[in-house]
């Protein structure tokens, strides 16, 4: 039945704000700037927006201040919080709301001042331990979230012979894409040996295996396809969307080398009616270098255990066999706490052909994959500038 949704909804506008460092701005100010730009990009005004999706990693009732700040009267509200994948996971509920006529234009938005905020990481960790306890993990002081990803990386290396050098390939590929993206935060040269020599944080992951900590906001606007055709940009159709969650804690994950992307990926591709051969560009949530390896495997772009060799020799870098994370990723472009909305925005820009030097030639279909928590939530979307 979901297959009938593949021609119903399109992304009509995208916007970003405050990428990198946004001194002097609050979270909601950045969010509202990105929202305003996305609405304008869609050829609409804020008065046209009657659906809202948003999430915050600190405020538990975040939809309300966002609605208030933007002056909205939404008929559809989704503030589902699944960590960084949330803004990919918001797609399907929004599509159903649009298709049913519950609302006519949905704004999905997020903003964070994680880099410049005075409320520091130490306070956040302390507050989380009280408000959202994990009594069976906290006594052992894993650094959240990196130690969880490190445990997965260590297991993958043990089970499949994946090497730190192969993980470093992911960071270097991301940097090479970032060097072609004027919006990217980190654009200085990076070699594999630099990654290998960087400070170890939680073995086997070093500081250059980890995503950036930046400010930034992103937003996109969804409308029904027939309306999108009358708006300024060529519509980017949401062909498929699926979300899967199997666990929250890394200690509850059945197999640390297999994420729920192995479920969300096939479901999204089935809904979209596409196969791997149809995918021209891939945007994955690379919070850590191991993510890219795990998701390429779980999403079926290579066999389980072969992700390391898949990314070797610049395989996913510019000029490689598969374009992955073309904005520079969370590793080198932007990562304000939750990154999921930015992979969708990059996919839209690629499908519109707006990416200049880093443009993947004649990209028609993109796969977007969001991750949240500690490999906990997985959400896949298939976007296309045509309906296959």
């Amino acid at each position: 039945m979901l297959e009938s949704m593949r021609d119903k909804v399109a992304i009509a506008g995208v916007g970003t704000a405050g990428l990198g460092e946004a001194h002097g701005f609050s979270e909601i100010e950045l969010l509202a700037q990105a929202a305003s730009r996305a609405v304008r990009d869609a050829g609409l005004t804020m008065a046209d927006i009657d659906g809202i999706c948003t999430a915050s990693s600190s405020a538990t009732m975040w939809a309300m201040p966002v609605v208030e700040y933007l002056g909205l009267r939404p008929k559809f509200i989704d503030s589902t919080m699944l960590g960084g994948s949330s803004f990919v996971a918001h797609l399907l509920p929004a599509m159903l709301a649009l298709a049913s006529g519950q609302c006519n234009a949905v704004l999905v938005c997020y903003g964070s001042t994680q880099r410049t905020a005075t409320f520091g990481r130490r306070e956040v960790v302390k507050a989380r331990a009280l408000l959202d306890p994990q009594p069976f993990e906290q006594p052992y002081q894993p650094i959240s979230p990196i130690t969880s990803y490190a445990l997965a990386a260590q297991r993958h290396m043990h089970q499949y012979g994946t090497t730190r050098r192969q993980l470093a390939e992911v960071a270097v590929a991301a940097r090479k894409w970032a060097q072609m993206n004027p919006e990217a935060y980190k654009r200085d040269p990076l070699e594999i040996d630099d990654v290998l020599a960087s400070r170890m944080v939680s073995d086997p992951l070093s500081v250059l295996d980890c995503c950036l900590v930046t400010d930034g906001a992103g937003a996109y606007v969804l409308v029904r396809t027939e309306r999108a055709r009358d708006l300024p940009h060529k519509p980017v159709h949401v062909l498929g969307s699926a979300t899967a969650v199997w666990n929250r804690q890394i200690s509850s994950m059945h197999d640390l080398t297999v994420t729920a992307a192995a479920e969300s990926g096939p479901r999204a591709m089935q809904m979209a009616g596409v196969t791997h051969r149809d995918i021209d560009v891939i945007e994955l949530y690379d919070a850590f270098t191991i993510n890219t390896v795990l998701f390429l495997e779980d999403l079926g772009f290579c066999a389980k255990g072969e992700g390391g060799s898949f990314v070797e020799n610049g395989g996913i870098a510019p000029g490689g066999h598969t374009p992955v994370n073309t904005n520079g990723g969370g590793l080198s472009c932007v990562h304000p706490g939750m990154y999921g909305i930015f992979i969708l925005i990059e996919a839209v820009r690629q499908l519109r052909g707006e990416c200049g030097e880093r443009q993947v030639p004649s990209a028609r279909i993109a796969l977007v994959h969001g991750n949240g928590g500690t490999l906990s939530s997985q959400s896949t979307a298939i976007l296309g500038n045509e309906i296959p």
Partner: protein, 133 residues
């Protein structure tokens, strides 16, 4: 084994940590499907039954994965975080005590021990030499 009346007197989380503070490590075994689970819950994640019993596991297990968290010496130095698969087929997070960070390997056999400090129990593991029978 502890009877279910005690389970119903307090939630499984309070029971688990209460027993741990007495120096006793217990996990749940399902009376309906016979499987163990960790962490403790009010229902079995294998079959949904609420017929859960507390049992004392062998405490023997195998390191499934590990990480060494790097910390400045003045803050206490490096420490390890491990995932252990108990022989009862459940996984949990813990640490291995008395080892240098470089000594840890996936597949090493470990034995559980309850360390009680200031009236609070913490489950930790020690490496054990074990011949492969």
């Amino acid at each position: 084994m502890v009877d279910n009346n005690e389970v119903s007197a307090r939630g499984p989380e309070a029971h688990y940590f209460g027993r741990l503070s007495e120096g006793v490590f217990e996990i749940q075994r399902c009376g309906a499907c016979g499987r163990h689970q960790f962490f403790p819950r009010v229902l079995c994640t294998h079959c949904g039954s609420e017929d859960l019993n507390w049992v004392t596991p062998s405490g023997r297990g195998t390191i499934y994965s590990y990480s060494v968290v790097r910390r400045k010496p003045e803050a206490g130095g490096d420490y390890n975080v491990v995932l252990v698969d108990l022989d009862e087929n459940v996984r949990l997070m813990s640490r291995v005590e008395g080892v240098e960070p470089g000594e840890l390997r996936i597949g090493q056999r470990v034995q559980a021990r309850v360390a009680v400090e200031d009236g609070k129990g913490v489950l930790v593991f020690d490496l054990v030499e074990e011949s492969h029978a």
